[in-house]
């Protein structure tokens, strides 16, 4: 079983534009999440979404900038868990941008997952939380399913 997530997607925009959407908090908030991100190696920041206290996720992804290659590569650690001082689960998110055909091929790799003591708690929450996230996505961006009146 592969223990990592990989997505590759082509955007018809130059890497400089895609880079802005990956590194400017006001633009990141439009498609990803609210955060206090700064483009500085070693900067610690958090992405905030809606948590679910009964489901062992506090709604915060705890991150630290690991690598910056302007317009080409960005990676940050990505920790998550139930909060309240419990041990967090580790992982790493890496973005690679390749200029191609007047656009950008964006590669996302989310890896470095480990088995930890807090992971089994997730079994209690899986389905409900997924639905919740879908709901949040629609709340944040109601036009995504095209049903919002103009």
């Amino acid at each position: 079983m592969a223990k990592f997530i990989q997505h590759q997607i082509f955007y018809p925009n130059p890497p400089e534009v895609v880079w802005d959407y990956l590194t400017k908090p006001e633009l990141m908030a439009l498609w990803l999440m609210e955060s206090n991100f700064q483009l500085v190696v070693g900067h610690e920041f958090q992405f905030r979404t809606k948590g679910k206290p009964d489901a062992c996720f506090d709604g915060v992804f705890y991150c630290k900038v690991l690598e910056i290659v302007p317009f080409k590569k960005l990676s940050y650690s990505w920790k998550f868990g139930p909060g309240n001082g419990h041990k967090l689960n580790n992982s790493v998110v890496s973005w690679t941008l390749n200029a191609k055909d007047n656009g950008t091929e964006l590669l996302l790799i989310h890896n470095g997952f480990e088995e930890t003591e807090t992971l089994p708690m997730f079994a209690l929450m899986n389905e409900g939380w997924l639905k919740n996230i879908q709901k949040i996505l629609h709340l944040i961006n109601p036009t995504i399913d095209g049903t919002t009146p103009a």
């Binding site: 592969a2 223990k3 990592f4 997530i5 997607i9 959407y21 439009l30 997952f113 992971l119 899986n126």
Partner: protein, 91 residues
Amino acid sequence: MLHLLSKDSLTINALAENFDMSRPAVSKHIKVLYNAGFISIQDIGRERHCILKQDGFKVLQQWLEYYDTFWGSKLKKLEALLNDKTKNERP
């Protein structure tokens, strides 16, 4: 190996039959999986059975599935944003 065990627990011999590997090689592989906490080994009668430890395994799988869906929808959203931007710039 884990895929086979996800359907049923198997003896080491039965497992070995599914692979073109020597019995010692299979045993070594099983030991690695056992040390990683993916399987447990139980003596039932005279046979040693390998059993998939569902908890840790399934839970990690669930997180991976969650993040797969999560990033898939986020990247689609970014695509919609960038497409809008392109249209506005080149009317």
